[in-house]
């Protein structure tokens, strides 16, 4: 998928009334995805180092989930779509 350039001055979704609270992109543990593959996807999509990608993967594995990126709603939506395209189980939610 592609991301359309954001027009300057165009309001973001009106639901975004609290711009200070970023959206969190969460990857959930699942029994099928290979640990090595998850590391590879984190590196490929987010440019993380092997160490950071591995740390996040291990957190998903042991704790059931990990926050892998954050930002405005539009960025989180793109990140979730990219993760889904690679078969990872990802969701987004507003930072508590």
């Amino acid at each position: 998928m592609t991301t359309a350039p954001v027009e300057i001055g165009e309001p973001t979704r009106d639901l975004d009334v609290v711009p200070d609270r970023p959206w969190l992109v969460i990857v959930w543990n699942d029994p099928i995805n290979l640990m090595s593959y998850v590391v590879h996807v984190f590196q490929k999509l987010f440019g993380y180092t092997r160490e950071k990608a591995t740390r996040l993967m291990m957190q998903v594995h042991h704790e059931g989930k990990a926050v892998v990126s954050d930002g405005p709603r539009e960025k989180a939506e793109v990140d979730v779509a990219r993760l889904h395209a690679h078969g990872l189980w990802a969701t987004m939610q507003r930072d508590a």
Partner: protein, 169 residues
């Protein structure tokens, strides 16, 4: 049951036997209509839900979820069908040496293979109800073949990922 994977300068080479090559082509053909929704069997719903999960965990974000699905679903399907097509095409184009099939993939196509193999494993894994403590010795006889395919796909995908990860170092 042991494809050999090796990294060439700008390619990845996979040696399959003819049965393995045919298996991959067949799996791609089975998965394609599941991705596109042409296979409308409700038994396939859990597979589609796993392949295309929700983005918003908050159920009050239903409008945003619908909007997001509308915006990205077509692209997600297209991208993943392209991955299956890349897998099928590479098998067709493979060098044929007796019963061996030598597949050479660009790094871009290697990524597509990873996607296709992963989607095939997700579909099969959901159907079989795979859990983290998967024990191949405890598999019922009727499903042994499907588990063997799952195990082989896992092995092949693992080899491909390791090859790419080693190349990144």
């Amino acid at each position: 049951m042991s494809p050999r994977v090796r990294r060439l300068p700008d390619q990845v080479e996979i040696s399959l036997d003819v049965g393995e090559a045919n298996l991959l082509g067949g799996l791609a053909d089975e998965l394609r209509p599941v991705l596109t929704g042409e296979a409308a069997n409700t038994d396939l719903d859990p597979i589609r839900e796993r392949l295309f999960p929700r983005a918003y965990s908050d159920p009050t974000e239903e409008d945003a979820e619908d909007e997001w699905q509308l915006a990205v679903h077509g692209d997600l399907v297209r991208e993943r069908v392209e991955a299956l097509d890349a897998l099928t095409q590479a098998v067709v184009d493979a060098d044929k040496r007796r019963s061996q099939r030598i597949v050479r993939l660009s790094l871009v196509d290697t990524e597509r293979w990873l996607t296709a193999l992963n989607d095939a494993r997700l579909a099969l894994g959901v159907r079989l109800g795979i859990t983290e403590d998967l024990d191949y010795d405890a598999v019922p006889d009727a499903e042994r073949h499907a588990y063997e395919i799952y195990g082989w796909l896992t092995y092949l995908q693992g080899e491909l990922v390791e090859t790419l990860l080693a190349g990144d170092d």
